[in-house]
Structures are given as C-alpha cells and as structure tokens.
C-alpha cells in the first residue's frame, strides 16, 4: 500500500463517496443497535399501535389516543408506520445492524476459509496425499463413528489400527505411494462447490435448518469462500517462487511464519477487494432470503422483511417498499463503488 495507491483512490470520487457512505452506515447501524435494544429502547421497533396504521412519513403521532410510552421520539414517524402501526424508522435502525453483521461476519467466515484453503493449496499444494494419510483418516472416522454408536470393541480396534499405521509409515513403501496432490484435491473441492448455484443452495440449506441470524451468516459464509480461495491459491503459487520467500527459507524461517508474515500480506490486495464486493452480495443475499420469508425469525426487523411485509400495500403505502429498498440499494452501491475503486487503485496498469 504505497502513496500512489492512496492518491489514486482519493482521485476516484465515486470510490470515496462509497467509503463515506459506508462509514455513515457503520455509525448508523451501531447507533441503531444501541437505540433499539434493551428493555426500554428509545426507538422501539416492536411497539404495536393499531390506531396508527400505515401513516405516511413525517406524520405526527396522535397524542390524544396513545399512551405516553407509545409516542415515538419527537412525536413524529420519520419513515411512517407499517400495517401494525410500528415505527418504520425504528425498524430500519434495527435492520441496519442485521445487514451490517450479516455482511461482515459471513464475509469474515468466507475469507478465513478461503485464505486457509487457498493458502494450503498454494503453499503445500505439491505435497502428495499418500495411502497412509487416506487410511488414517478412514480409521479415525470409523473409530469415532463406532464410538458414537457405542460399539466399543470396534472403536478400539480402529484406534489401534491408526497407531499401527503411524508406526508403519516410515517402514513401508506401499503406504507411502502418492495418490494425488493436495492441490488436485482442493481445486477439485472448489470445482464441485462452484457447480451449485449459490442462491439456490443457500435457500435450500436455510430452509432446512432452524432459522437464526447466526445460521444465515454461517451458511452464506460457508457457500461463498471459493473465489477467495482461488485468488489466494494463485497469488501463493506465484509468491512462493519469489526470491524473498527463498531467502526466508534459507534463513530457516518456519513455513507458518513465511505464510503469515511474508506471503499473506503480499496476497491481501485482491482478497480485500473481493471481500468488500462480497459484503455487498452477502447483504443482497440476506435481503433476498428475508424477502422470501426465510431469514431472521419474525420479531426482529430486517430490511428485506420490512419490504416483504409492505408489498401487500404497494399502492396504498409505497414508502414501506421504497424506504427499505432504497436503503439496501445505497448500502450495496457504496460497497460496490468502494470495492471497484479499490481494485482500480490497486491495479497500476489501469492508472492514467
């Protein structure tokens, strides 16, 4: 990250705009978490006022009917109310935090898996998976399988087999026959994962496991690490041939330290860009799931859910569709603009 990079980024007005919007969104969602949670939140997203249904934005609360604790802050519904008389502004605030955490945590998971898998493939990819590796994995899994099925003697038998394999592996040639490389294995796994259309796969898994914020983050993270893994693998394959890695190896630096201190920082640029673009698509995916009714369970508001609830009132209460829609649009747009700007700034060939 040199000077040319920063000045190139600063010149890109759209990217800077994206960055500023992102910072604002970050602050708003943290404020939203503070203001909408707790026992007596300032903005109560689940307060139902049946007398105040479908009020348009900026309409005043009816102080004669409502109890004092039902009146929203400042006495106005900034974004109007929904079909149960809940304050849309409070619900949007609560939903902002969901979007933010889903975006960041799921991308965090996918980047972590991607770096781990891609790094192993890129750095140790030429090592062979030998027959005794395969046999040990089989015996460990069979041993634990029988352990859980409470067939103790078979479990112990396979455990002994494992120790026997570890003892034999230095002495036997057959056990050391290489089957295929780690790289073949990992690229194979990536290819298989890429075959499944991601949104449909996510939809299937989310529908079949108990829905919660955490399971959605985990599912999105676990189904979107392949791009990062490919980037990291490609970068590592070229970096490991470089002289500074050779120098580090000659100095006796451990593999782990070479990966973490010398190679990973050099491979971070494309990962960072794909992570930022990944946040945008994760937010969109979560909104889509909420829209289909498979997202975070009901009392909690998310942007996709507000829109989905408001779609029946499309012509009578269009703000229920437009406010969350435009909010998602702006946030996703800001991430996309910043990510693309970052990519251009990091690619010196495109600079003018």
């Amino acid at each position: 990250m040199n000077r040319g990079f920063w000045s190139a980024l600063k010149e890109d007005k759209l990217a800077m705009l994206g960055l500023y919007i992102f910072i604002v969104f970050f602050i708003v969602s943290i404020l939203g978490l503070i203001l909408t949670s707790g026992r007596n939140p300032i903005f109560d997203p689940s307060m139902i006022r049946l007398s105040e249904k479908l009020k348009p934005p900026f309409s005043h609360a009816n102080r004669d009917i409502l109890r004092p604790d039902q009146i929203p802050p400042f006495g106005i519904y900034i974004f109007g109310t929904d079909d149960l008389g809940r304050d849309v502004f409070s619900r949007m605030l609560q939903g902002a935090w969901v979007s933010l955490t889903v975006g960041f945590v799921s991308v965090g998971i996918s980047v972590a898996i991607g770096i781990l898998v891609g790094g192993i493939a890129g750095y140790f990819g030429q090592e062979y998976i030998r027959i005794y590796h395969l046999l040990s994995v089989v015996s460990i899994s069979l041993s634990s399988l029988f352990f859980f099925k409470k067939v103790w003697h078979l479990s112990i038998l396979f455990l002994f087999l494992l120790f026997f394999l570890i003892y034999l592996r230095k002495r036997s040639k057959i056990l050391n026959v290489g089957l295929f490389t780690i790289d073949t294995l990992i690229t194979g796994i990536i290819d298989i994962m890429l075959c499944f259309p991601s949104f449909f796969l996510i939809l299937t898994i989310v529908a079949f496991i108990p829905g919660s914020l955490y399971s959605i983050m985990a599912v999105i993270g676990l189904t979107s690490w392949m791009g990062t893994a490919r980037f990291v693998r490609a970068e590592f394959l070229s970096l490991r041939e470089r002289d500074f890695v050779l120098a580090a190896k000659a100095l006796g630096v451990s593999d782990f330290r070479i990966i973490l201190r010398h190679m990973l920082p050099n491979a971070m640029a494309p990962v960072l860009v794909s992570a930022i673009l990944g946040i945008a698509s994760a937010i969109l995916t979560e909104a889509g799931l909420s829209f289909l009714g498979l997202g975070v369970p009901p009392p909690h508001a998310t942007w996709g859910k507000i829109l989905s609830d408001g779609k029946q009132y499309l012509f009578d209460a269009p703000w229920l569709t437009f406010i969350p829609g435009i909010a998602i649009l702006i946030v996703v747009l800001s991430f996309n603009l910043f990510g693309e700007g970052l990519r251009d700034a990091l690619n010196p060939r495109l600079r003018r």
Binding site: L14, G188, D191, I192, L194, C195, F196, P197, F199, F200, L201, L203, T204, I205, A207, F208, I209, P210, A280, L284, A287, G288, F291, L292, G304, L307, S308, K311, L314, F315, P318, T321, F322, P324, G325, I326, I328, L329, V332, L333, N336, L337, E340, R349, L350
Partner: protein, 318 residues
C-alpha cells in the same frame, strides 16, 4: 483434442459423483424430516407417520436411501412427495414455462451489453462511459425484488395493464389481444432478469476491451497507420471477445438458478417458483433433483465452454 475430451470427461464423472452425494446429503443431514413437519396436526398419528416413513424409505439407513433415490431418478420412477407425480415430468412442465423468460432475458443481455461495453471502452472517460458505468453500478446493487416493485408501480400506473402471472385469467378474445396480453406479462420479468446480466457483462466487456487496448500489437497496428475503426473493431475486439465465447457455456445453468425471487413475485409458474414451493413443503425429491440438475448443467456448461475455447483460441490447444 481427443485426449483432452476423454480426460475432462473422466474428471467430470468424478465431480458428478460427489455432486450427487452433496445434493443428497445436504438435505438429509439437516435436522427434521418431512414426517415431522407438523407435529401438532392431530391427523398425524404414529401409524400414519410410520406408513409415511416406510413409503418414502425414510426408515432405511442413509446410504441405502441414497442408492434408492438415484436408481429411481435415473429410471424416471422418482415421484414427488407432495402430489405423487413423476418429478422429471413436473420439472419439464415448469421448465417449458421458464424457457420464454430465459430466452428473452438472455437475448436482451447479450445483445445490449456488448455494444454498451465496447462503446464505453473505446470512449473511455466520455459522458457515455460515465453514464453507462453509473447505471451498471446501480443495476448491480439494486435488489431484484425492489426493482421488480418499482417496475410494477411504473407499468401499472402508466399503461394500466395487469402484470402478475403468465396471462390474464379468464381472458378470451381475439388471438392478437391474447398475444399482446402474453407479451405484457412477460415484459417486466424478462427485463428484470436481464438488467443484472447487462450490468455485469457490459462492465466485463469494457474491462476486457481496455485490457486488450494496452497490448503491444494494438500500438503496432496504430503505428503502421491503420484507421482507428479498424484498430478497434478488427484487432482489439476479436481478442477481447475470446473470454466471452466461454461464457456461452455458462449461460445454461442460469436456466434454474437465478429465477426464484422474480418468479415468486410475478407468480410465474416456472422452475424457480417450483423450487421455492418444494423447499417450503419439504418435497425432498424435487429439491434434490433440482439441485442435482442445476449442478449438472454447470458441469455441461463448463465442458462446452472449454471445448469452445479450444476451437476458437489456437493457443490453448495442448
């Protein structure tokens, strides 16, 4: 060439095997099974559940269920748990409904994104380029379901035509009228399925074009005094188009994948909507088959694109 095809076929067969495992187990290992979908329902007596489990082989061990499932799938005997109809027949019927949307959407995508992308690359930094860039960012970022509602409001308020569903229910008038009705109903969903594609593809065309324009042979072409048009459209464009040949193969999987939300909004009785309904009602055979088929389509698509690339680009031939 032949050795490449054989090698890649073997590789694809191995991948296919793992795909069949994953698409089966991802659903069967999830907690809960269809017999427990509604434990509060008094009609679900233990005997009924037992019969249900026996009928659908749920009482057998998983690997046996796996074998039974794929035996039934390939012999065409697999039936939906919901209505007992053969799964493949059901999917085919819905596929025919999705097909027009897919064809129109793909045609729109491919015919619009190339001119836009090429033009904005050639006139980099011009007003056209900036507008195209802005709109492509907008269309990449807009959630499809929100855009759908914006379009619905716009079309219904300005043209006063019904847009939900495949056709107006109970409309029996002249042939021309019914045709127009069909077209109106198809318009918004196909535009929707095309916008995202146009945005992404035109950006990609633009960056590919810019990449090629910095190459040495373009400078050579300019240096020997060729007219600008010939440099752009003959020397640059041909090389920039190479990666897109491979994308023809990758269009195929879009048949199933991307249409869930759009088809649910427009009550379009296509594959995506069927997938969504099957997921909600835990219709395992339909869900697994759809996952499996779409993964297979991706495999076929990548195979075709590899072949096309070898035919078009002589440098790849090994």
């Amino acid at each position: 060439m032949l050795s490449f095809i054989i090698r890649s076929l073997i590789q694809k067969a191995i991948t296919l095997f793992f795909i069949s495992i994953i698409s089966f187990f991802v659903i069967h290992l999830a907690p809960g099974e269809p017999s427990q979908i509604n434990p509060m329902n008094p009609k679900f007596t233990p005997e009924l559940i037992k019969r249900f489990r026996k009928q659908f082989h749920l009482d057998k061990p998983l690997y046996e269920q796996y074998l039974i499932f794929y035996r039934d799938l390939f012999s065409g005997r697999l039936r939906s748990w919901k209505d007992g109809r053969p799964v493949l027949e059901k999917i085919w019927e819905r596929f025919l409904n999705s097909l027009p949307l897919f064809i129109v959407g793909t045609l729109l995508t491919w015919t619009l994104s190339f001119p836009v992308g090429i033009h904005s690359a050639i006139r980099r930094g011009s007003i056209f380029d900036k507008t195209a860039t802005f709109f492509s960012y907008l269309f990449i970022s807009i959630p499809g379901f929100f855009f759908a509602y914006v379009l619905i409001i716009f079309v219904v308020n300005t043209f006063h035509v019904p847009v939900i569903g495949m056709k107006t229910f109970g409309l029996y008038s002249g042939k021309m009228h019914m045709l127009m009705d069909r077209i109106w109903h198809m318009l918004i969903p196909s535009i929707l399925s095309a916008t995202g594609g146009i945005a992404i593809l035109s950006r990609y065309v633009r960056s590919q074009m810019l990449e090629v324009e910095t190459q040495d042979y373009i400078r050579t072409a300019r240096a020997k005094g060729l007219p600008e048009d010939e440099v752009h459209y003959k020397h640059a464009l041909r090389n920039a188009l190479l990666p897109f040949v491979t994308m023809f193969g990758l269009v195929i999987p879009g048949l199933i994948g991307g249409s869930v939300i759009i088809e649910s909004i427009f009550s379009w009785p296509g594959i995506g909507r069927m997938a969504y309904e099957a997921i909600l009602s835990r219709d395992y055979p339909v869900v697994i088959t759809l996952n499996f088929i779409s993964a297979v389509l991706v495999l076929i698509g990548t195979f075709i694109s590899d072949l096309l690339y070898m035919i078009v680009d002589p440098r790849v031939r090994l």
